[in-house]
């Protein structure tokens, strides 16, 4: 659907909303808070269906989704994210580049060779001298071993290959390492997570660490876990990367987003993945 973003009009409208909210001054929200004993996550914890989507106090975005969206993810056929996995499966054995190789030339059957790989990413990559996520790793394989050009971030083949590789680890717990050479990048990601940014002056942590389960408008805030990514998003009506999601978050607090694939977002990706260590990969998930 077309969306118009006029800063002036939006600001004026926000003020109007502010006025109307001030008039009824939160009485309703107070009583609701008391009704569920102040813990908005209790309802999810109590639901046995969500056991598989939790690890201790960590909760996948799945538990914050509507039953209809969950149903779309539960059935691989109904999940449009599987179209991206299918794209990736075709790309996997496509020969490209001067070396005359495909992914399959070295890695053969992805179901075996890629199982458990994605859940350990991002990780320190000596060839880059910094972190690499799965997208970077795929492009590194292409330039180093296939002698093929890098795939463009968020392009159909790169999304497809990422989805295909991630999908091989579906059901396995996220298990990124943050010590050793990854440590300084992890620290950078952590700093990003707690830094207030944008015109609204909001940090990742304020929504996703301090307020998960709380409502913002009609929407409930999740813990911002990344175990379902890459994902098919209802809003996008398409498949997309975690960095595209980061970009959306940054835009909503009216901060200048970083480029997809940037060091800033890759470091943040490691930190966010670490927060979800132990949650099972759901790639490709369906999210609102």
């Amino acid at each position: 659907m077309p969306r118009l973003r006029s800063p002036l009009l939006t600001a004026a409208a926000a003020l109007a909303v502010l006025g109307s909210l001030a008039a009824c001054d939160g009485d309703k929200s107070k009583s609701a808070a008391m009704a569920d004993s102040g813990d908005p996550l209790a309802q999810y914890r109590a639901n046995p269906k969500y056991k598989a989507f939790m690890a201790g106090e960590k909760m996948s975005g799945y538990v914050f989704a509507s039953p209809e969206t969950q149903a779309m993810q539960d059935d691989d056929f109904e999940n449009p994210g599987m179209l991206a996995v299918q794209d990736g499966e075709e790309e996997w054995s496509k020969v490209e580049g001067a070396a005359g190789k495909s992914c399959a030339s070295c890695h053969q059957d992805a179901a075996k060779s890629m199982k458990g790989v994605a859940v350990s990413y991002p990780k320190f990559e000596p060839k880059r001298g910094k972190l690499a996520n799965i997208e970077h790793r795929i492009n590194l394989c292409r330039t180093e071993h296939m002698k093929a050009p890098e795939l463009k971030w968020e392009s159909k083949p790169l999304l497809g290959l990422t989805a295909y590789v991630e999908h091989q680890s579906r059901g396995l717990p996220i298990s990124v390492k943050v010590d050793g050479p990854a440590a300084p990048f992890f620290e950078e990601g952590k700093k990003f997570y707690y830094t207030r940014r944008g015109q609204m002056d909001i940090a990742c942590a304020q929504c996703h660490e301090q307020n998960p389960g709380m409502n913002i408008g009609v929407e409930n805030l999740s813990q911002g876990q990344s175990n379902g990514y890459p994902t098919y998003r209802l809003k996008w009506q398409s498949f997309g990367s975690l960095h595209r999601r980061f970009e959306g978050c940054n835009q909503e607090v009216r901060a200048e987003p970083y480029p997809r694939g940037s060091d800033e977002y890759t470091n943040l990706e490691l930190y966010v993945a670490w927060r979800g260590n132990g949650l099972k990969s759901e790639a490709p998930s369906v999210r609102r």
Partner: protein, 158 residues
């Protein structure tokens, strides 16, 4: 959505921040100037053009979200009471909505071979509006149902 509707400012977000985020999201949709916007009248007219008989309320069920999780992809299931035999079956199901850029959503042609008159699809909803379905039976009679879906793009759906 969730039963919980606690105030955000309890836990670190100031009201200004929460409200600003809310305003940013929720207002955008209503500001969009759309050409040829559907209205309850144009939706009715379209149905009138598609279906000759005057539809009666009943037999049609629309299952969807009361509040759309995201207006870009709203799953809708339409089912119609019918034995679906050669003599008595649902011939057509027409679906319109009354506040999208255009009223038409989809039309389904069924046959006794379907055995069960039920279809599912996913639709876009630009704002809160009614989904209206009309089923035309093999005897020419028409039946209808309507259902409101609330579309509120609130919060930081980035």
């Amino acid at each position: 959505m969730t039963a919980s509707s606690q105030s955000l400012n309890r836990r670190g977000l100031s009201r200004r921040q929460a409200v600003a985020a809310l305003g940013l999201g929720s207002v955008v949709v209503t500001l969009v100037p759309l050409s040829a916007e559907a209205t309850p009248e144009s939706a009715k007219k379209m149905l009138g053009d598609l279906v000759k008989a005057a539809p009666k309320a009943g037999k049609v069920q629309i299952k969807t979200q009361e509040i759309a999780e995201n207006g870009n992809t709203v799953p809708v299931t339409i089912s119609v009471e019918s034995p679906m035999t050669d003599k008595d079956y649902v011939k057509e199901i027409h679906v319109v909505s009354d506040k999208n850029p255009q009223p038409g959503v989809a039309s389904f042609m069924l046959t006794p071979a379907n055995g069960k008159a039920e279809v599912q699809f996913r639709m876009r909803m630009a704002e809160t509006q009614n989904v209206i379905a009309v089923a035309v039976m093999s005897d020419g009679s028409a039946w209808t149902a309507a259902r409101e879906v609330k579309v509120t793009i609130g919060g930081c759906g980035g």
